[in-house]
Symmetry: C2
């Protein structure tokens, strides 16, 4: 528990209104999207880099664990206060500090909500592509810490690819800047990219410098139904082999379609056993040409139906099928484990077959959807925790899914991170030598292990 002395010191830093040890507040900040719960000793809401610096100085001196938190929308427990201590909430650092239209660069605080930022830059004809499913509530700080992805990453890359500089408070209470507003920079080690995806274990992000793109002139969306998952997977490979990289190549397997059909009134013909949502963006005329080329490429692969949107409203209607997936799954099954393995994209059909046989082996339904274009599959293991044995089966199935992905040259996580959810499986993917290399970095920067301890590595 936090001593009274330390409570008062923290209160002195952030003000009485911005620290709480009440049970209600501690419960509010005790969980994330994994639904796991760990009670912190206190919740603090700093408003500036300097307050965070002073918090870290105190925490490092007094050996108080600090757990940085954006919106708590993570899927791996990255922000969970697994060792008590302080939850450091960044939501008051929510300003877009600058959008530099001349240089296509923005500077923001970590608490800015992803969608709010996207809308702000789009108003100026600019574009921030990363689009995690949580973008309506997730923060940019959280996106950077976990290196969030999203459907558009197949063409544009992940969060990291757009982060060119940071201001960071180190675990020992120094304020450093990494990178900067230039498009190139090779002076010293690239701490910016090291911070991206380090899950808040190496520093507290207090400012983010973001590279922007011009907003594409137009986009075009197609929803394509296939009679088999193999047809859809072959379509993905064939499109890329055809030298086209669409903005998105989202897929849903047959079981996902069944859930959506069961839970919504969306019109999906029974012969559709896989869906691809293909979006292209760019110059208007060029788009039409690209769509024609895509249709030509995929036509022989068991296409049941193609729906094409030409207006934003029609596009939204097509996306509705994909967006309804999570809610539909929840309606049909009470509990699910949502894993996000990633394999080389040509291995998607093989991975799906592996998943199907794992589902059969353990007798648990598993549905697959996600970002086929970059081989990032959301594997959803559907169980009911109230049924004895279901949880154990799910755990065995998850391990098999991870092993299957790794056998195909893939990774256990394309977007969600390790946090606590995948920490037990780290030895499957990372050799002891590489893990020691990573732990050495952590130890050199956070000698007292006070910043987000217990994440990524169990020891």
């Amino acid at each position: 528990m936090l001593s009274e002395h330390n409570f008062l010191a923290l209160q002195e830093i952030v003000g009485a209104a911005n620290i709480s040890m009440s049970k209600a507040d501690r419960i509010c900040y005790s969980y994330d999207a994994t639904q796991q719960q760990y009670l912190p000793d206190a919740v603090v809401h700093p408003a500036s880099t300097d307050e965070i610096r002073r918090i870290m100085l105190l925490a490092n001196r007094e050996m108080i664990p600090v757990f940085p938190r954006g919106a708590g929308s993570g899927f791996s427990g990255g922000s969970l206060p697994v060792k008590g201590g302080i939850v450091l909430v960044t939501e008051r650092l929510d300003r877009i500090l600058e959008i530099d239209e001349q240089n296509l660069v923005a500077t923001v605080e970590p608490g800015v909500v992803t969608e709010a930022f996207q809308k702000a830059v789009e108003k100026l004809g600019l574009f921030y592509p990363p689009d995690p499913a949580s973008l309506k509530f997730s923060t940019l700080g959280g996106n950077v810490a976990e290196c969030a992805g999203g459907p558009r990453c197949v063409k544009y890359g992940v969060t990291k690819d757009f982060i060119i500089g940071l201001e960071v408070v180190t675990p020992t209470g120094d304020v450093i800047t990494t990178g900067g507003p230039t498009m190139k920079g090779v002076v010293g080690y690239d701490l910016t990219k090291l911070m991206c995806g380090s899950e808040g274990t190496l520093g507290v992000i207090t400012k983010i410098i973001i590279k922007l793109l011009p907003l594409p002139e137009a986009k075009k969306t197609m929803l394509v139904m296939f009679d088999s998952i193999d047809g859809a997977a072959q379509a993905v490979s064939a499109i890329i082999r055809g030298k086209i990289i669409p903005t998105t190549l989202e897929f849903m397997d047959g079981r996902t379609i069944d859930c959506v059909r069961q839970a919504t009134n969306l019109d999906l013909p029974p012969s559709a056993r896989a869906v691809l949502i293909i979006e292209v963006d760019g110059d208007q005329e060029f788009l039409d040409k690209q769509c024609e080329k895509i249709k030509h490429i995929i036509q022989p692969l068991g296409v049941v139906e193609i729906r094409t949107a030409t207006t934003p409203e029609e596009s939204e209607a097509l996306w509705q099928v994909r967006r309804s997936v999570s809610a539909s799954l929840r309606k049909v099954n009470p509990d699910k484990f949502n894993e996000d393995i990633c394999v080389p994209r040509s291995k998607v059909p093989e991975m799906i077959r592996k998943v199907d046989s794992i589902a059969e082996k353990y007798g648990v339904p598993i549905v697959n959807f996600g970002h086929a274009g970059d081989g990032n599959i959301h594997v959803n293991i559907m169980i009911n925790r109230k049924i004895p044995g279901d949880l154990d089966k799910a755990k065995l199935a998850i391990e098999d899914v991870f092993k299957g992905a790794l056998e195909l040259g893939g990774t256990m996580s394309g977007e969600h991170g390790v946090g606590i959810a995948k920490a037990p499986y780290i030895p499957l993917e990372i050799t002891p030598a590489a893990a020691n290399y990573m732990k050495a970095i952590k130890k050199s920067l956070d000698p007292n292990n006070i910043l987000n301890p217990g994440k990524i590595f169990l020891d």
Copy 2:
């Protein structure tokens, strides 16, 4: 000096034909493109990861400094054996191991020459954009170690943006893999990007996994002459503000044009005081439209002449103007310091004015050319080392140029790295706290400081 015992141990690892302590061989590997010279004790040419692993184990145990080297074409002394020891040459690891057309991913050894790789993937309709000026002889391993850039980076990004995985021998002799062949991956810290640009100080790169793009259908090149550098600089900003990101936006200032005119028979009218080479790539029809838009945008900005290439041969002729710069400068002035500062692109005109006043202050000619599109200016301080005082003036001018770039939110180096050339100036750009953070990482991974010591940081 290397003991006989250690020489024999190294010989046992690489074979007698692949180690040398002869004066001639040591001299051959004593310099790089900076023209500075440091004699190593021995030169070794390993042929495999395992040989490199055994070399590093030995070197770490016996405290022998190891200096990894690609083609020695670096501009910052990154590969110079500044503390004797071993030069570890990667040129025998020169195989392209795989070009995976399905997944747009290639795996290569570090000694593959950049251009050879580009040609190999282009034959398959694929594309590796980074194009450092040294690409005809520089190696991909060196490109990764220094995070090389080039003209096309304005649209496509730098070397780091294409590197998704590595095999690395650590300073203590472990073999680790980082990242992998998937487009996403967030398990553990991103050691891949940390290695990129770490100048061979954190590990010896033994395999490189590279993301490729489809080769653009066509490209179009324009050489535009302006009556002032301000006009050219405004054109760069105006094009980007017009939401067009060309493949290249290369510029040359008036003094550079004068040198080229003096040294070659290229036809450049006297009224041209700045040149931009603008290249766009993509769909053929779209290109014409983009070029028309660019012409419309730049026309009011003091355009003297526009030359447009429509065939590869014509394009090559236009590029000849840019490619002749280095040789022309050398013809006109015997010695030069080629710095490569980078500023936010809108600050290019202000930076050029600063450079002009620095040239005047010290009475040394300075010519500027480079990658205006990403604000990366090659500032060439022209001197004659034989003239007493010229070298001192150049050193003072360099420091002013660095300070000027930093005042504008820029960096001392966009492409070349720190090596030994910029190590004395590190405190201008990196705060002690950030430097300590970097040194802590180095120390944790290379406790005996045997891998490329003396680089980036002086202490």
